[in-house]
Symmetry: C2
């Protein structure tokens, strides 16, 4: 038997697929099985050595899996799946309904404390690394202001909205941080900026044959909540161009803090991600924190944990000596 | 008596002065005294409420100070001061002789473990936040390459070197990351780059009256180790311009990791600092980690610790609930 940390993946969507690949990129982790609510036979696993198992049989794996990487959706899957799995396994998830995180934490913490498991919740990039940088920047530079910018990124909700417009055959929407707003923040003037002032929206639309494109453009640009408050750009392209240029799920963004120290010194702290694949990156974060969940559970640090509770050394495969010698 | 965490500062140089200001920017920390090897009467403390005390009397403050913020120099002060103070107090320092960190860690750890103190070593920005980001980026994106760029920053060693050139009355040198090199790294091609390919050097020189400036320029540009391998620019300015435009100690830089996930997706992770004042920023980091040293010592996490061992929540004045609710 290998000494590797044994992982299971629960849910085989974008994140689940990304997690299979992320485990392969490591030397100290291995994948035991992927669990799904669907007929396991129907999962197209790229790798024949990985087992697909029905989620109802997960409890059979209690002694074979160190950490379950939960890849379900935040809306309805995780509020149910994380407490369920945390009663049997150490877990890690990317729950991202920001407003409901406190209650999600409570429900997971109760189960994890009761069952002596370690459950790291809401890791990824936002929540996740963006959250981490917001807190660290503010702890170091208490006098200042945090700014989070999202994009360039494909927004699922806004893409759905443009596709519902009459005459639209297909389409995508990117959220793009405003260069002007970023420049203002970097200048240290700590401006007040609404979400609409920080971002613009760019749509690529495939129109039905023969429809009036200017009407589509007008409908999108004036759509309340989604577009009306934003600087919005609408481009018309062909179905082929959409397939060729817009089939990835890029995302990313910036966390910037403009702080002051002493009398009047500007100190700029900046973190950014530019991701070709949002789900593959998020899955890579989940897998690194699975390593942490295993180690913290071995040290009996049980209960629900967030990214703020995890000492960075736990996510690295390197030893403490190596980190001090080669990275500090 | 207040509930604030009580700090002492050891050494009143650039960092020590910055630490006095950094403590003032917090609500939960207070300064008890500044300790110095010089005659305490001679220290010009901006704030009359802060006591100046001779370093030999520090042991009298064992019950009055929770954490000592060590602001001595890395070359000779800290190798002696950190073990000495860690035998009596929790400590935090910014020891930055990278090659000697492993032995420094061992010497501090031995004392701290023996005396049940918590000693956080080598925090600041590099070592410090840059080190943290090198490790976190690699843990998440194991397939990839880390790049650290330094600058735009005033380099003490190189400024000293130009000031030793014949005919130079005064001068400063800035290290500046090469825009070309940064662009290459951001493009995801993971280039091999020497330190000289990643940076250029810009000097501002005040020449003695009547000397040949082209000889000075030539001498600087061909100086082995310091400049010969680099793209170097030499500018001549007046003493007034030097005083007006070059009296701050700006620094900063970038840590960038270009990583790949899945088949061929580029994932770019980037951290950067743009600092008007290197010592004030470093001191602000020290002060935030002093908060962590106090809390970890209360939880009996004794011994020498690095930035990798400190869970991020420890450096924030906010409660765990607030962090989950407002920042995650
Ligand atoms: N924190 C962050 O930074 C961050 C970033 C990105 C995403 N997220 C979160 O991650 C969650 C999951 O994202 P995702 O893109 O992986 O969602 P997804 O592809 O929709 O997958 C969610 C679940 O749906 C089921 N599913 C997937 N494909 C299916 C199909 N073809 N037919 C039927 N069911 C299918 C899978 O469960 P079964 O296998 O059990 O059927 C899967 O676990 C999101 O809800 C989001 O909240 C967080
Ligand atoms: N990790 C990082 O990112 C980072 C960043 C910046 C700096 N650092 C480290 O921080 C160390 C301290 O930097 P610094 O700029 O504060 O050094 P500094 O100004 O030279 O001060 C070092 C010590 O020299 C003494 N001193 C200061 N001014 C003096 C004066 N006018 N006359 C006589 N003695 C004086 C002070 O001790 P007494 O009060 O006891 O005399 C002080 O503690 C550096 O060596 C560097 O290694 C680390």
């Amino acid at each position: 038997m290998s000494n590797k940390i044994k992982l299971g993946i629960v849910g085989y969507g974008n994140l689940g697929k990304g997690a299979v690949k992320a485990v392969k990129a490591t030397d100290d982790l291995e994948l035991t099985a992927v669990f799904t609510r669907r007929d396991p036979e129907t999962l197209e696993l790229d790798d024949p050595s990985v087992k697909a198992v029905h989620i109802d049989n997960a409890s059979d794996y209690k002694d074979e899996i160190d950490v379950m990487v939960l890849c379900g959706g935040s809306a309805t899957d995780l509020p149910e799946q994380t407490p369920h799995f945390a009663s049997m396994f150490n877990t890690v998830d990317s729950y991202d309904t920001h407003a409901k995180i406190p209650e999600f934490y409570e429900s997971v913490n109760e189960v994890a404390e009761k069952n002596d498991t370690t459950a790291i919740i809401s890791v990824g990039w936002d929540p996740g690394f963006f959250s981490l940088n917001r807190v660290m920047a503010e702890a170091i530079l208490p006098r200042g202001e945090n700014y989070s910018f999202w994009g360039k990124g494909l927004s699922q909700g806004h893409s759905d909205a443009v596709r519902r417009v009459e005459g639209v055959k297909n389409g995508v929407q990117y959220t793009i941080p405003s260069e002007d707003a970023i420049a203002k923040v970097r200048s240290g003037e700590n401006p007040e900026l609404t979400k609409a002032q920080k971002h613009r929206r760019v749509c690529y639309i495939v129109a039905e044959d023969g429809v009036d494109k200017s009407t589509i453009e007008e409908t999108i640009k004036t759509m309340p909540n989604y577009f009306a408050d934003y600087e919005t750009e609408v481009n018309f392209i062909s179905e082929e161009e959409l397939a060729r240029d817009h089939s990835k799920a890029p995302h990313g963004g910036f966390v910037i803090r403009g702080g002051k120290t002493g009398d009047d010194n500007d100190q700029l702290y900046e973190f950014s991600l530019t991701l070709d694949s949002n789900p593959e990156f998020t899955a890579s974060v989940l897998v690194a924190y699975a390593r942490a969940a295993h180690r913290m559970s071995q040290e009996k640090q049980f209960g629900a944990k967030t990214i703020y509770d995890v000492a960075p050394a736990y996510i690295s495969p390197k030893s403490a000596e190596e980190l001090r010698r080669d990275y500090l």
